[in-house]
Amino acid sequence: MKSRVRSRIVALAASLAFAAVYALVASSDPMGALDAFFVSPFASPYALRSLLESSSSLLCCALGACLAFRAGAFNLGGEGQASIGTLAAALVALACGNAGLAGLDAVAAAIAAAAVAGAALALLSSVAESRAGAQVMLTSFLFGQAAIIGVNWAVGGPLKDPQANLLGMAAVPEGLRLPLLAPPSPLSLAFPISLALAVAVVVFTRGTRAGVEQRILGKNRLFARAAGLSPRIGTWSMAASGALAGIGGSLLVLGQAGRAVKDMTGGVGWNGLAVALIAGSDGLGALPAALFFSWLDSGARQASILADLSPDASAVMKGIALFLITATREKP
């Protein structure tokens, strides 16, 4: 346990050191860039709240990846599952709006629709594995990419809001968005929802029989079969994984953005995968890891606005952190 914490601290320090060196070398105003990067995401309650809001959908996708990894399924389709979630949530929210429905029930229906859509996409891979033995790692990626193309086409084409200038669907009516908790900041109900899901995942994985069975299946498939465990737990894990990614997508639509637009997920699925790996597929660890990633994103974004740096510096830092964590983990 101690060495696990230490390896994470080393990784964190190294990725922050990269940011510092990058700011010093590439910026004409290094101090300003450092300040923008390290301080500004925490400088005001507003900044802090938008950090929390932006971590919500990432946390959901990460929790989904945790569940799949625990069951030994490499679900690489999180990005597509989140993407199809944005479409499903927007469709249901707009339909509710047309029917004159509003309030938390309707919001919940939109989120549930996203969960179902994400789960259905993930289940395709699960069935392909159980029926034909096609690797989840490959099919989940392929189905996910196809889904992203389909969603982008729908959102920018037949479902596009003709009045809007951007490639996106009509805005979700006010009453069908996640309520803001501390206006004017973007912090909404999305963050508490993702926290509640994290608690649920932790309780499931640590406190239930099915959670233990899932772990056994993930560690050793043959042993699980010999011990008479139902392979169904793997299917359910994959469905839950897709559902959580779908919910992550719905939070994007029903939260800050308020509408579904083209290329909306922007890597949240892939980042969720990385967060889950950093957290060792543990729901409890996913929260700090997701906050860390969101901090890197918002710091790099601030630094790119206030100083002349690339916002993609955060991707380099994430890669470094992931490399170091896997290279310094305790060996079995």
């Binding site: 033995g133 096609a134 690797q135 392929l142 596009k160 310094t328």
Partner: protein, 293 residues
């Protein structure tokens, strides 16, 4: 007219298939060594970018491809080194490389050229034939290396896909350091993917962010679809190349250029769906064969 269209489809199929095949054969080397690399996509990205950078200094096709190979080699060195020397999980390290690569390219591009978008590489631009010739030659050499050389045999012994434990024992008995062969496999895969990426940049005469569009992943699927044998892997890449070319052709054929939202956009999903269907069908057949035995 019809004949023209057919020959142009055939040529563009080959042009799409060549980088896929080179990347896939490289990946096959890592799979045969028992340490599958999933960082192909990242290696292709840095390869394409490095080629465009070399073109800024006026490099031609061969230098550009070499620059791509070097960059891919560097990234795969990181993955192979982390997993073989430091004991990192090769899957996680590969994923880290795939996250790292586009970010690194964007940061470097911003720092050196003041843009994180398209980087022109006019001096690199070549017609389809020279690129096709170079990639086919490399691909053939790589296949011969894997199937007809002592090196290839030892590589397979380091991680015989039938049974890793036996493969390792055989390798140890023969006095082969499986770790060294696995590392070489990673280097080969990285260089091959780097050249593949560089050829994409050479084909359009520019580096465009996101230009690899999942080719590295499709190459990975081709390795499994080809049953981990060099020529079948090569063949499945030809099929994927044909599908991608077909999707491109359909798009340019039907798209009147009236902006987004055209149903023809959906054709882009064709290679992914066809790949998935082919993989599932092939695995199903294999499974049926195993059950009969």
């Amino acid at each position: 007219m019809m004949l023209d269209r057919l020959t142009s489809l055939a040529l563009s199929s080959l042009s799409c298939a060549a980088p896929l095949a080179l990347a896939a054969i490289g990946t096959l080397a890592t799979e045969e060594s028992g340490s599958l690399s999933i960082s192909i996509e990242g290696c292709m990205i840095v390869g394409a970018f490095a080629a465009a950078v070399s073109a800024q200094a006026g490099a031609g096709l061969v230098t550009g491809l070499a620059a791509g190979a070097t960059a891919g080699l560097g990234l795969s060195c990181l993955v192979g080194g982390a997993s073989l020397a430091l004991g990192a999980d090769v899957f996680v390290a590969g994923l880290a490389a795939n996250i790292l690569a586009p970010g690194l390219v964007s940061v470097l591009s911003q720092a050196a050229f003041g843009t994180k978008g398209v980087l022109a590489a006019e001096s690199l631009r070549s017609g389809p034939w020279p690129i096709l010739f170079a990639l086919s030659l490399l691909c053939l050499l790589l296949i011969l290396l894997l199937t007809r050389s002592v090196f290839g045999l030892r590589l397979r012994a380091s991680g015989s896909s039938e049974s890793r434990a036996t493969g390792k024992e055989i390798a140890q008995a023969a006095g082969i350091s499986s770790r060294r062969y696995r590392f070489s496999a990673h280097l080969i895969a990285g260089a091959a993917a780097g050249v593949a990426g560089a050829s994409l940049a050479a084909g359009v005469g520019a580096y465009v962010p996101g230009m690899t569009t999942g080719r590295g992943w499709i190459a990975l699927v081709a390795v499994f679809l080809g049953g981990r044998r060099a020529w079948p892997v090569f063949l499945s890449c030809l099929v994927f190349g044909f599908l991608i070319a077909l999707a491109n052709l359909g798009q340019s054929f039907w798209n009147g250029g009236d902006g987004g939202g055209n149903a023809v956009e959906l054709l882009q999903a064709l290679p992914y769906i066809a790949t998935a269907v082919a993989l599932i069908a092939w695995r199903r057949l294999e499974k049926a064969k195993e059950e009969r035995v």
